[in-house]
């Protein structure tokens, strides 16, 4: 094998660890060295837990030598800095939580710790997940490993960049309107947002609770299935988590896809679609047909209303969720104030970044008296229509294939000053979020500039199996996911 240790996928590392060919301490050493090399340029990590990782690695090595390894034992994983990690700073990339050290673990973190995975560090992100480019972080923008002048996408910017740059084996992210799939597409990796409810949100710092979902950023689909199998399941601490324990997602790997019908929604192939993205998708659809699946045209007529509906609903929920930052129980507190209300105002105004304030204002406005009917309630009705569109479409197909993003990664600074243009870059990922459906982004080509192109596969609610089966079959017959950056 010509690959260096840090370039291994999760499943390759698993095999080498279990066979006793490498030790977890070696793997962790290789990854830390890689982080040291790339992080000054890419800014993928906010915190690297150098002190604790070798203890975790030694513990994992002991467990592996006792033949008690679980799928994630000894695997160096990165975690988006919005998931609470006990004793390890969790900032949400905000000045507000710059020094916040959670007294508890998120359920997803508890699950990976129980398997003795190595939590290598916390990754950079758009502040409180509000952004599509990684540029709104208080800790500075993350850069795209394929071209440092371009954005890695967001909001799980650091998780995507770290996986693409081989600075971890795999990473956890969160997706509210595309925050896993869009950066995965921009960075040429695999990003999976499972159905809403699949993974407990306990310990995930809330942005828009009816949309937020934890998911994975990995080097291939097999890794996504492995990691997700360790995260899914009902949690009494999250009433919206699902107890629909189906068969393991890994059991869908390598299954026959010839009985599947894949729908191509015409609304996702508009005139304005980047021609290179379009031709990559056309070739991908042909490939899938060649693998035996049926491909047909379908329609999702209310796609054009999704961005407006999403930003109204998400901002409304954000305005409400972020009311908790009062500078008293935790978080930043201004020290020079006249009275209680003045302290609230000053603390929040000084510690929230521009985009966060913009969304709080938007959210408060669309819910305020006189406006809620035209904005929030109308957006909720639009959400019903968008959901119904998917129900209708799935009468004609099992899976839906679309571009993940209308164009490859844009330049740093290109959209950050024009919020609406930034919001519109989520146009293809938002509808599945509004409907709570599982969706994956996998690499399906590169443009002439050498930037990755991603395709999205959307499934019926809780039909992750089929999504994995198709993504894996495509990957087994293409080489896009194996391309590495020059970093």
């Amino acid at each position: 094998m010509n690959k260096r240790l840090h370039q291994m996928s999760l499943s390759e590392s698993r095999q080498l660890l279990d066979a006793g060919n490498i030790r977890c301490t070696d793997l962790v050493g290789a990854v830390l060295k890689r982080i040291e090399k790339i992080n000054p340029g890419i800014n993928a990590y906010i915190t690297v837990d150098k002190e604790a990782v070798y203890d975790q690695a030694q513990k994992a090595d002991r467990r592996i030598s006792q033949k008690k390894a679980r799928p994630l034992t000894g695997i160096p994983l990165a975690v988006k800095d919005i998931l609470c990690t006990r004793g390890l700073r969790t900032t949400c990339a905000s000045r507000m939580l710059e020094n916040f050290i959670p007294p508890y673990d998120a359920t997803a973190i508890e699950k990976i710790r129980r398997q003795d995975a190595v939590l290598i560090g916390k990754t950079n992100m758009d502040e409180f997940s509000m952004g599509s480019s990684g540029e709104t972080s208080f800790f500075g923008a993350t850069r795209n490993p394929w071209d440092p002048d371009r954005v890695p996408g967001g909001s799980s910017s650091g998780s995507a960049a770290a996986v693409a740059a081989d600075a971890c084996m795999a990473a956890l992210g969160t997706d509210t309107g595309g925050s896993i799939r869009q950066p995965a597409a921009f960075c040429g990796i695999t990003g999976f947002k499972p159905s809403y409810g699949r993974i407990s949100r306990f310990g995930l710092v809330s942005y828009a609770s009816s949309l937020d979902q934890i998911g994975t950023l990995t080097k291939n689909t097999e890794d996504a299935a492995l990691l997700l199998d360790s995260l899914c399941g009902f949690d009494p601490k999250d009433a919206t988590s699902a107890d629909t324990a189906g068969p393991a997602l890994t059991s869908a790997l390598g299954t026959d896809i010839s009985a599947l019908t894949v729908g191509l929604p015409e609304e996702y192939f508009p005139e304005s679609l980047d021609p290179e993205v379009k031709s990559a998708l056309v070739r991908a659809a042909e490939k899938i047909e060649g693998l035996g699946a049926g491909v047909k045209k379908i329609s999702l007529p209310r796609t054009g209303e999704a961005v407006a509906a999403y930003y109204i609903i998400a901002s409304a929920e954000a305005g409400s969720n972020l009311a908790r930052y009062d500078g008293i129980k935790y978080g930043y507190q201004n020290q020079v104030f006249d009275d209680l209300k003045d302290m609230y105002r000053k603390s929040r105004s000084e510690a929230f970044g521009k985009e966060v304030k913009r969304r709080i204002l938007l959210g408060t406005h669309v819910l305020s008296a006189g406006y809620d009917e035209n904005y929030y309630r109308q957006a909720s009705r639009a959400r019903t229509l968008i959901y119904n569109d998917f129900i209708d479409a799935f009468r004609h197909c099992d899976l839906i294939l679309t571009p993940t993003v209308p164009a490859p990664a844009f330049k740093i600074g290109e959209k950050v000053h024009t919020p609406l243009n930034m919001y519109l870059s989520d146009v293809f990922t938002i509808p599945a979020s509004l409907a709570g459906l599982p969706a994956i982004s996998i690499p399906c080509g590169f443009c002439r500039r050498g930037l990755p192109i991603g395709m999205q596969i959307i499934g019926r609610r809780f039909a992750e199996q089929k999504v994995i089966a198709l993504a894996h079959a495509y990957e087994k017959n293409t080489l896009w996911h194996l391309k590495k950056t020059d970093l």
Binding site: R302, Y330, R348, S349, K357, L362, T384, L420, R461
Partner: protein, 93 residues
């Protein structure tokens, strides 16, 4: 439905945010653009369409009320900018 300077200041007050004089024009112009885009939803026929409630509408809303172990007071107070055991300390007024 155009947002005015007066409204934005009122909204900021509701959200406990203080806007600097020099940032108001930028925020106002951004919000105007975004709200104008939101208005496209007005053209959507939603008569007899119920609002979307929640993606886990089928989830049980109630659970048994069973006491469990919670965080210690010490742990809970650890992140407070000001605390006087066993209380959070907040300014008066």
């Amino acid at each position: 439905m155009k947002i005015t300077r007066k409204e934005i200041l009122h909204t900021a007050d509701l959200a406990c945010l203080q806007l600097r004089e020099d940032e108001i024009p930028g925020i106002l112009s951004d919000l105007k653009t975004v709200l104008a885009y939101f208005n496209k939803l007005q053209a959507l026929d939603t008569q007899n369409i119920p609002p979307f409630r929640h993606p886990r509408d089928d989830a049980p809303l109630m659970r048994k009320d069973e006491p469990g172990i919670s965080l210690s007071q010490k742990d809970v107070l650890k992140n407070a900018p000001a605390a006087e055991n066993p209380f959070f300390k907040a300014p008066t007024g």
